[in-house]
Each structure stands twice: as C-alpha cells, then as structure tokens.
C-alpha cells in the first residue's frame, strides 16, 4: 500500500511514494538519491544517519518516512549552496576526519550546536556530538575544529546558519 508524501529536501520540494513501514534513511538514500546519511547500526546508536529535520537533528534510521511528510530536511548536501561553510572549512583545515564515514553526521550535529549556541565551551561541544560515534580520530581534532570556528566567527553572524 503505497502512500505519496512530500519532503522539502535541501530546499527543494520532493514528492515520493512510500510504504508506511519505510524508514526515512532508506527513502533518502534509495528513493531520493541523497547518500550522505550513512547506514551504521540501524538502531540509533552511532549517529551516521543524522539529518536536520525541521531545525533539529534526528537519527533518520529511527524516523519513519511517513513522519517526515511535509517536513524540511537538511542533509550535508544542503548546507553548502555557497561552498563549504566556515565549520566545514575548519574541519578540512584541521584534518579533523580520518575515514570520513561519520563526517556528514558530525557536520550536521555541530551545525545544529553552533546555530543554537554560537560560542560553546569544550564540554558543550562534547555533549553535542556525543551521539555521533567516530572510531578513528579520538575526537580531538573534531572538537578543536568546532572550537576554532566558534571562536573565529564575527559576533554579528554568530548563530546564523548559512
């Protein structure tokens, strides 16, 4: 029993037919062609499927696609209309990632953090990304890059998402 839904995905309205049991992550990857949210554990533990739904990060493996009907979803592809954001540039500059599999989810969690709290301290950064597992880096270069971009942002632009 297919059902049509519509998602505002990275700024474009996308219509898609789904089964009521379909998971948002699978619909994004298989039906809408957005591959940056990854499949890591399928039970909400690892955070590689993170997307921003209506302004908040969610684990798209724990969301039914039907719940996203009418929602605005941002994946990492949608962050960078004008090229990599200052946060992404800081990650690139700091060699923050190794294998990179956790990077899309990590970028989105950190983006959400900076939108809500433009100048987080180290503990706040750790708390914000603690749902995104990284097995390679020991997190240190990721935390450093987030701190750097928070510190360097001009006061007036802090809190704005690009």
């Amino acid at each position: 029993m297919k059902k049509p839904i519509s998602i505002k995905l990275n700024g474009s309205v996308r219509a898609v037919e789904i089964e009521p049991s379909d998971i948002l992550l699978d619909v994004l990857r298989e039906k809408l062609g957005v591959k940056s949210p990854k499949i890591g554990c399928e039970r909400g533990d690892c955070g590689v499927c993170t997307v921003i739904m209506n302004g908040r990060t969610v684990r798209s493996c724990l969301v039914l696609a039907i719940e996203a009907d009418g929602a605005a979803i941002t994946t990492i592809e949608g962050l960078q209309a004008d090229g990599p954001t200052p946060l992404q540039q800081s990650f690139i500059k700091n060699n923050s990632f190794q294998c990179g599999f956790c990077a899309p989810g990590m970028v989105l969690s950190a983006t959400e953090l900076l939108a809500k709290n433009p100048d987080p301290d180290e503990e706040e950064i750790k708390e914000a990304i603690s749902g995104n597992l990284c097995r390679c880096t020991g997190y240190e270069p990721i935390i450093k890059a987030i701190r750097e971009v928070a510190r360097n942002a001009p006061k007036s632009s802090r809190g704005k998402r690009r």
């Binding site: 890591g40 690892c46 590689v48 597992l133 097995r135 020991g138």
Partner: protein, 810 residues
C-alpha cells in the same frame, strides 16, 4: 638541523579532506547499481557446533521476489589467506553461532529477509569447545577433524588430530641457565579477552558476474589485491582467472584490520556467480559485523621472567594460548607474529616463546590494530612493572636498562634496526613527570601514573610487494595510482607528499586514486602499518623514474647535459644556465619542439616497485632461528596519569603521553592523528569494551548499546604526542610505519597506573571500574563474574597452567 625537504615533513592538508567533509566521498553502499540490483540475506547457524543434516529451501524459493537460494552444496570450496580452513558456506558442519549456512537472493532486502526465515535447516548438535582448557584436553571435540589436509603457508605448523592450528616456537640461548643466573624470578598469568573492531562502516560488497563472464566486486576492503587473489583461487573451478576478476575499493569507512584479507566478502563473490548478469549486494548488519567478520583473539599468557639484582633481564619464558575461533586462516598469523616478538622491545639473552593458535567454536579471530602486540603487551608490560618492584628498581629505569638498541640480537637471531627507544622512554617520562606524586582535589580520587614500552613489526609474507603508476597531465598536475588503501590514516596524502618532494609539484596538484585492480598498480594489502614504508618506497621510485624521463627529454631535445639538470618549482632547470627554466606543463604531454620544428618526448609516465629483498620465513620450526621474518620494528613508550575513584572504582585519564619513533614523519599532523585515535581506541579496550558470550557460544552484546565504544565525552583530558625520528635506512625519506602502534601500550599503562594509585593489580582485561572496586574490597572478580563468559576462559586465570611439552599431537 634544518630540514632539507619542502613537502615531506609538513602538516599538509589531507587531499581527501574536501571529499569527506562535503559528503562527496562515496563508500561502497553509496554506489548506484540501478533497479536490477539484488539483495541477499544470510541464513545463519544457531549452534556453536553441529552437523548439517538437511537444508530445505523450497518454501523460501516460492516467495515472490526471491531470485535464488544458495547453500554450501553450490559452493563446496575453502578459502583463506594463510591457511585454507574457511568455507564459503558451512558445508557439512557449522562451527560457530552465526556462521553462514545459506543465502536468499531477492529483488529487495525485506523479501530476502522474510524468505530466509523460511529456509529449514536440520542440525545434529555436536559437542563444542569454547574454553581453551577444554579445547586442549585429550577428550576435546575437534573443530577441524580434517586439519591435516588443509593447505597452508610453509611457516605454519598445525598439529593433526588436535585443536592446535599453529604453534610458533622461538628459542634463543639457554633459559634454564638464564633463570639460574637470575636473582629474582616472577611468574604469573594474564588474560586478554576478545575485542571487536567496530569500524563505523559495516562490511559491504557488491558483486557482478556479467554475461561475458567478467566478475567485478565493489568491496569495502583494506586489501583489494589480496582479495582478488583469494577470490580467484577459491573460484578457480568456475574457470575464472585473475584477469577476469576485478576488485574496486572506493573510500572505506574504517578498517583496523577488520577489513583486511577476506571474510564475508567471499559471499559477494559466490552470490554474484549464482545470479549471472545481475549485481548483488551483501551488506552486514551491525550485529553480523560483530560476530561474522574477524574479532581480536583472546589470549592467556603465562610469563616467567628472571632478572638480576642490578636490573638486567636474564631470561623469559612466555607461553601464549590463543582463542583463535572457528577459522584461523588469518588469525594464525597473529599468533605467529607474537611468537617471534613476545620479548617486547628488550634485550633478553635467553628466550623461550611458545605461541599456540587454538581452534574454538567461537567466531573467527583475526587481525586487529596491533596484530597480537596489544594482546601480549598487557601481560608483559604489567609483568615488567612487577618484577622491577620486586628488585626494588624504578619501573622506568628498569625498562631503560633493558631497552633494545640497534644491532642487538632479536629473539629469532636477526639484528635490531635503528631505534629511538631510549629517547622515547626519556621524553615520555619527562612529559608525564615520572616520579612526581600528584594529588586530586577530589578526596575520593587518587592519582597514579603508569608507564610502558611498545614495539611492533609489520607481519608480512617475506615477499609482500608494493607498486605505483604515475602520469603527468597537460597542466603539469599528476595522477598517481597505487593500491594501498586509504582507511582513514591519511595514506593518500602521504603518498602525494612523497611524490611532491621528488617532483617539486605541490601536493594540491597531485591526485592519488583509490584502488581498482584492473588499473592501479599492485599492493599486497594495507595492513601492518607498512604502506607508508613499502608503498612510499614504490611511489618514490615511480616519481624518480618520471624525473629521469623528464630530464632525458630535455637532454635529447635541447642538448643540456643530464647531470646539470634538476627540478625546482615545477620546472626543469640547469645548473650551468641560470636563466633556463622549462615548466613541466610545457612538455610533459606534448614533448619539446626542437630547432627543426619536430617534437621529442611525449607523455611522461612512470612506475615504481618495492619489495623487501632481505626477508625470509625459513626459520627452524623448533627455534625460529635462521630466518629474517620481520622487516623492522617501530618502537616507543607511553605513559598515563590516571585518577581512580576509591568509592566507585571509576577511572579518568587525566593525561596520556605517547612517544613513537616513526623514522621520519612525512606528515606530523597525521602522525598526531594516529596517536589521539589509537590511544582512545586502546583506552576503551583497557577500561570498558567487554564482549560477552553465553555458555552456548552466542555473542550476547553485538551492538553499541551493550558493547560500549568511546564517545566524545570519553576522551582523555590531555594527550601529548611525541614524534621521534631516528631514520629507517630503507624507508622513504627515512620513514617507517605508525598506526597500529599507538594502541598497543594503552592497556598496561592503565593497569600499571591503577596499581600505582590504589595498590591493586588487575591481571585480566578489561580493567573495569567494577574489577578495581572489587579488588579494593578484597573480592576476586573471578569469584563473582557470573555466567556469561567475557573471555576465552571460564575458570580463574591461575588455573590455566598449560603444559606445552605434554600437548598431544606430533
């Protein structure tokens, strides 16, 4: 001393950074194969050991959307890297819970899953062995009754009609005499359980056997060429040769050894052959990732160490029994590597090492970052502290006194390579303020410090080779193709830096391409922390060949003497003609026009190759003397400052220091990345990662809820990496490998710091808060640990006293 290099030794930005941070990086599961892509679900054994009586697939085959159901009858072949003891599908018997018995291929994953539940397998349960003592007993059930008939590398020594798959013996000097000379002898047993790699990307493979008979695999792997070789050998009965098999490896989401060799990928090969013309995907769930790839092997290590009153080590007798699981095609080489190196980085005149690879009915063991050195390091480096205490010597001074030096004789008779071990010991001790007692502001917390040395050599066949192809583009940029794998360590960037240094082309103008066995040059596999060294040498050779060709072209076209020509800033220059500067882009494709109007030269292409020609695996089976199995050791030291809460047993890492001799840091920032990453991964194994099996051999915690890996909140307060550079003479710009090493010392520094802080010695990993608190209350964890075996052993550690001499078999 000023560094003569422009690109080597700099913190170059990763050349894969933009791909990964923008989401452009594609991993196997991200590749599109169109609507004809099929999906597989695996039918798994619920038994640790059983005969397969019958398999009925008829109900599954009737489900609409099912394309094919495959069983062991369709693929009665074995495979394996060092020993061919593994089956594509379990054929007559299953040997661990979760082993593949059959597969359902369907149009979509949900249908495959539903149909797999309808495959009826009738089993006759057999006695199983989970415990090492049981596995070695005279009445033990044999995991592989057919062991004597398996093909294996010549340096393995299986014992037929036993569960001993390999026994590496190393003998040097006279241990009895050594112990007689000792003033102090300490003997004890240490145990290390299994661990899981937990790369965040699960294993996945897509196979396509096309209508022309060409087999292509897209594989999340560290080992594209080794996979091609193992695949081609396993399916030779189908008439495919190496040129018909192609392995493509896009970005891979972490490896740590778990994606080395061939594990579940063999299923992608078999299933592709079963559905000619359609691509088929096998993607592991997180649970399968835990129980059906490789796990780090458990070990029970019995150490007897003798030392003189002045701190000189006189002898070591180190016996290691490894729980290698149901198949040891790769894991037996971990056992082998340890059998050669379990002295640790110390000068020991009299050595007896027995390293035994033992089959059990648990998931297959295999390589994991450190390749056995983490496992034996826990016991050995704990023991080093304890014997130092016994003779009343500072544990750092004791290590320093015995630390191995260049030219010292190794356990197997070869000479030690150049080493900065003493520098590492001194600088790490200074950084952690060794000897200074520190106090916590929290009255419940006690601060202790722990110290350990480490070493590791790549474990490779003696002829493991690397190769590289390099070509220039019209604008003077470079494409480099190698088959070392970017598993996160920064391999691509380091290869670009090496080529950049030779060619004077900036790193940003060099693209290093991910492996495709049809196109890229050969690499054995990306394991053992050897690719910076081995593949780096190949890349350096390729770049040098390209340089020679460029100089030759200029010489032929313009008449300059080759000896006067050199490269600088992407131009060919001439020492005798200072105003001459020919940009690469003017000639590296189209050649140089002569005074006659014709062109000389053409596209600049080059190749490079490296194989260590001095190694051999011909050591005597009874002593290991006579061969040269290891290329070199990377050495170092590490220390931790640890706060232990006396009320809860909880521990916090306040400061971790790790000094490692990398020969030459091609990219210091990437070395620091290996230190921070390896330390955290290691601390997790030391403190809380804790695998549990039921007494029927079923893994109880195959997920991140119940098997905790570190989050951002579990990081040490401070990490200090120390890079030491004592050049490796045969390394590219002096480099030797680093990657695995940073994880190796983590467990013993924790155990040693716990003892320093609160006076209890934990001899079983992990050193959990629970164990520390129980020990503080005088309770032995082994008395209360309960029913789920976290280990390769169910009894108390001290009850595993194996008499190696008496083990049965020839």
């Amino acid at each position: 001393m000023s560094d003569p290099f422009k690109f080597v030794g700099t913190d170059a930005q990763r050349i894969d950074g933009v791909d990964k941070v923008t989401g452009a990086a594609q991993y196997v599961d991200d590749l599109d194969f169109g609507p004809n892509l099929l999906h597989a679900e695996i039918v798994e054994s619920p038994h640790a050991h059983a005969e397969i009586v019958s398999i009925n697939t008829s109900a599954a085959e009737k489900v609409p959307g099912v394309v094919k159901v495959v069983t062991g009858k369709d693929f009665p072949y074995t495979f394996g890297l060092y020993m061919q003891d593994r089956y594509i599908f379990a054929k007559d018997r299953v040997r661990f819970v979760g082993e593949q018995v059959a597969a359902v291929i369907a149009r979509d994953p949900k249908t495959a899953k539903r149909a797999a539940a309808l495959v009826k397998v009738k089993y006759k349960p057999l006695p199983f062995v989970l415990d090492l003592k049981e596995a070695l007993s005279s009445h033990a059930s044999l995991v592989h009754p057919n062991l004597a008939n398996y093909r294996h590398v010549p340096w393995f020594f299986p014992r037929e009609k036993t569960n001993i798959a390999h026994w590496r013996k190393t003998r040097k000097g006279d241990v009895e005499k050594g112990f007689a000379e000792a003033d102090v002898i300490l003997e004890d047993t240490y145990t290390v359980p299994r661990y899981a790699h937990c790369a965040i990307e699960p294993h996945v493979i897509v196979g396509l056997y096309d209508l022309a008979g060409r087999l292509t695999l897209w594989s999340a792997s560290q080992s594209p060429y080794t996979q091609r070789n193992v695949f081609a050998e396993a399916i030779a009965p189908f008439g495919l040769t190496h040129k018909d098999v192609r392995v493509i490896t896009p970005y891979v989401g972490g490896g740590f050894g778990g994606k080395a060799g061939v594990s579940m990928e063999i299923l992608g090969v078999a299933l592709a052959l079963a559905v000619k013309g359609s691509p088929v995907k096998v993607r592991w769930t997180r649970a399968q990732e835990f129980y059906n790839t490789y796990q780090r092997q458990g070990v029970i290590a019995h150490i007897k160490l003798g030392a003189k009153r002045d701190g000189t080590i006189t002898a070591i007798d180190h016996t290691l029994h490894w729980d290698a699981g149901a198949y040891v095609e790769y894991g037996a080489n971990v056992v082998n590597a340890v059998g050669l190196s379990a002295t640790g980085p110390y000068r020991v005149p009299n050595v007896k090492i027995d390293s035994l690879c033992i089959y059990t009915n648990l998931p297959p063991g295999g390589p994991y970052r450190g390749f056995g050195y983490s496992e034996f390091g826990f016991g050995l480096e704990s023991h080093m502290n304890r014997i130092a205490q016994k003779i009343g010597m500072d544990p750092v001074a004791f290590r320093r006194k015995n630390a191995i030096k260049e030219g010292d004789t190794l356990a197997y008779g070869a000479e030690m390579n150049p080493s900065g071990l003493h520098e590492a010991i001194d600088r790490v001790a200074a950084e952690v303020e060794w000897g200074r007692k520190e106090e916590s502001e929290n009255p419940n917390e006690v601060i202790g410090k722990g110290f350990a040395c480490f070493w590791k050599a790549p474990a490779m066949p003696p002829n493991a080779a690397s190769a590289a192809f390099l070509k220039f583009n019209e604008d003077g940029s470079v494409n480099l193709t190698v088959s070392g794998m970017e598993i996160g360590q920064g391999f691509l960037t380091v290869m670009a830096q090496i080529a950049a240094e030779v060619l004077t082309v900036p790193v940003s103008k060099i693209r290093v391409e991910l492996p495709d066995t049809d196109r890229n040059a050969y690499e054995w596999q990306t394991v053992g922390s050897h690719v910076t060294w081995g593949c780096g040498n190949a890349v350096r050779a390729a770049a040098t060949e390209a340089r020679e060709k460029m100089l030759e072209t200029v010489h032929r076209a313009l008449g300059f003497e080759k000896k006067d020509l050199y490269l600088e800033n992407e131009m060919v220059k001439c020492r005798t003609k200072p105003d001459f500067a020919l940009p690469f882009k003017s000639f590296v494709i189209n050649g140089i026009q002569t005074s006659h109007g014709n062109f000389l030269g053409g596209p600049i292409l080059a190749s490079g190759m490296f194989m260590p020609e001095f190694t051999s695996a011909t050591g005597d089976p009874e002593t290991s003397q006579g061969g040269h199995p290891n290329v070199h050791y990377t050495v170092g030291a590490a220390a931790v400052k640890l706060a232990v809460d006396k009320a809860t047993g909880k521990m916090r890492v306040l400061k971790a220091v790790l000094g490692v001799d990398v020969g030459k840091a091609i990219n210091p920032d990437l070395v620091r990345g290996q230190v921070t990453g390896g330390l955290l991964q290691g601390f997790a194994t030391a403190l809380y990662e804790d695998i549990r099996y039921s007494k029927q051999g079923k893994l109880l915690n195959p997920n991140f809820t119940d098997y905790k890996i570190p989050t951002a909140k579990d990081t040490p307060v401070e990490i200090v990496p120390i890079i030491i550079e004592v050049a490796q003479p045969d390394g590219p710009f002096g480099a030797r490998g680093v990657g695995e090493h940073t994880m190796i010392p983590t467990a013993p520094i924790i155990a040693n710091a716990v003892e320093d802080a609160v006076g209890v010695r934990i001899k079983t990993m992990p050193v959990t808060a629970e164990k520390v608190l129980l020990a503080l209350k005088g309770i032995d964890y082994d008395d209360v640990k309960g029913d789920t075996m976290g280990l390769c052993f169910m009894d108390k550690a001290e009850n595993y006293k194996f008499n190696v001499g008496a083990a049965k078999g020839k």
